[in-house]
């Protein structure tokens, strides 16, 4: 068996992170494209058609020119799955940051990461706790990136419901979209976390955005239909689709709690996964 040095791993993971980021910001996943096409076909408002026309042209332009779909190339959220042969170490975190710095320079990405109080921009999309890296065990060594734009992130919410308020989950989801209006670039995808803890439920909501959006459970469909009855439509200009999909992820919670989080995602539900080979 070939002897593999820790340095090889760092280079391989940085490469994979940069490649995943390039894929994510330029090309939408096929399930997202299908959902947008379906929403376009179902639309009846002339103004909304204009918006879908721009969206379709933009998806093609980004792929043809190999440039980002959106100038808000997001804040870097990264998920690593580690097989038993790869141990979790500081080197992995540094490798991901290397990959993000390279992606920022090469693709390029807009430098979005700033100090929360001084607002000083690091210029390379890294900083304290950034990229946000989530590590979990798996069979294969993969890196998934979810570059998250601020327009949609800013209107996301977490609500600590009471155990007796299960029927209010739909209200929380629909109200989140009512408050958001056109600001998060609808038609949105809503990631809904239910259960866990105050902090954990928001992570669930974000992870829900990684699931295929062209299939929904009966509960997800019920939430999605309720959101779509608001009629907010593409960009808040009115139309029949306000949410392309609602995806739910749950975790066990305290018997006295019912945490609910809604992570709002714009129509460009960007994410990509690359296997790390080393």
């Amino acid at each position: 068996m070939q002897c593999r040095e820790p340095e090889d791993l760092r280079v391989a993971l940085a490469d994979a992170t940069c490649r995943a980021m390039r894929d994510a910001v330029i090309t939408l996943p096929p399930d997202v494209k299908r959902a947008i096409e379906k929403a376009t076909a179902a639309e009846t408002s002339a103004v909304a058609w204009g918006e879908y026309g721009n969206i379709a042209q933009n998806i093609l332009a980004a792929e043809r020119l190999r440039v980002p779909l959106c100038q808000d190339t997001g804040i870097p959220v990264v998920y690593l799955t580690l097989p038993p042969s790869v141990s979790c170490s500081q080197a992995l975190f540094e490798a991901v940051a290397d990959g993000i710095r390279r992606a920022t320079e090469e693709i390029p990405l807009r430098p979005n990461v700033v100090d929360p109080l001084t607002r000083h921009n690091s210029g390379d999309n890294t900083g304290a706790g950034m990229p946000a890296i989530h590590v979990r065990p798996g069979d294969r060594f993969t890196v998934t990136v979810l570059p998250k734009g601020a327009g949609a992130e800013n209107v996301s919410r977490v609500v600590m419901l009471l155990p007796s308020q299960k029927e209010k989950i739909e209200e929380v989801v629909v109200e989140t979209m009512l408050i958001a209006g056109g600001r998060p670039c609808p038609p949105v995808v809503l990631g809904v976390g239910i259960g866990g803890t105050f902090d954990g439920v928001t992570a669930l909501a974000k992870e829900a955005l990684l699931q295929p959006i062209d299939q929904m459970t009966a509960f997800e469909k019920q939430l999605c239909d309720a959101v779509n009855r608001l009629g907010i439509g593409p960009m808040g200009l009115g139309g029949s689709t306000t949410a392309l999909a609602v995806k739910v992820k749950t975790a066990a919670c305290h018997t006295a709690s019912l945490p609910v989080a809604v992570n709002v995602q714009c129509w460009a539900n960007r994410h990509a996964t690359v296997e790390v080979k080393w």
């Binding site: 100038q71 808000d72 129509w267």
Partner: protein, 188 residues
């Protein structure tokens, strides 16, 4: 609104803007200036670094590489709801952004100008209609600087017109009615 017709508008803008109605489709050509939160604050303090007469402000923080616009879609305009009045007072006639703006801006636009909506996320499409001409306040960084951009027929829709018609607030009021009815919650 006449369905299917697209009005051609060139900057600097004059009184022709007053004839536009909410829902009209427009293609805009000529110089526009990007500005987000930080640029508005700087301009309020230090003055507007370009001729504001007939000017169009684009709520945008582009991606620029090697003096070329790579991606330049709109940012959420509502963040500038309380920051925009001085621009109209000094002669600006239009804003471009996404998501709409509050009632204060609607009143500031009355009899003076319009708010154009450009499709959020459509940065590659936008860049293909643009040429970079210059920059003000480069120290604010790529996202927050004032970039001078020449547009070639950028496809827009009139979101708020100079008579106070607002597509966004009409949609939002309807959405609120539906929410109150369906979720049986107490609504003001």
């Amino acid at each position: 609104m006449v369905t299917g017709t697209v009005v051609q508008i060139h900057t600097p803008i004059g009184d022709e803007i007053l004839a536009l109605e909410a829902g009209d489709r427009v293609e805009l050509s000529g110089i526009v200036y990007t500005a987000r939160d930080e640029a508005h604050l700087r301009m309020q303090k230090e003055g507007i670094p370009f001729d504001p007469k007939g000017a169009v402000i684009y709520h945008c923080g582009p991606v620029i590489k090697d003096k070329t616009i790579v991606a330049a879609g709109p940012t959420t305009s509502a963040r500038m709801n309380t920051l925009s009045g001085f621009l109209f007072d000094q002669g600006a006639r239009a804003l471009i952004g996404k998501g709409g703006m509050g009632s204060t801006v609607k009143e500031q636009l009355r009899g003076r100008g319009v708010y154009f909506a450009f499709t959020g996320g459509c940065a590659a499409l936008a860049a293909s209609h643009m040429t970079l001409k210059g920059v003000h306040f480069p120290d604010l960084g790529m996202a927050e600087a004032v970039w001078v951009i020449e547009l070639d027929r950028l496809p827009l829709v009139v979101g708020i017109d100079s008579a106070g018609n607002d597509l966004f607030s009409a949609v939002q009021e309807n959405a609120k009615k539906i929410f109150c009815r369906e979720q049986k919650t107490e609504c003001v």
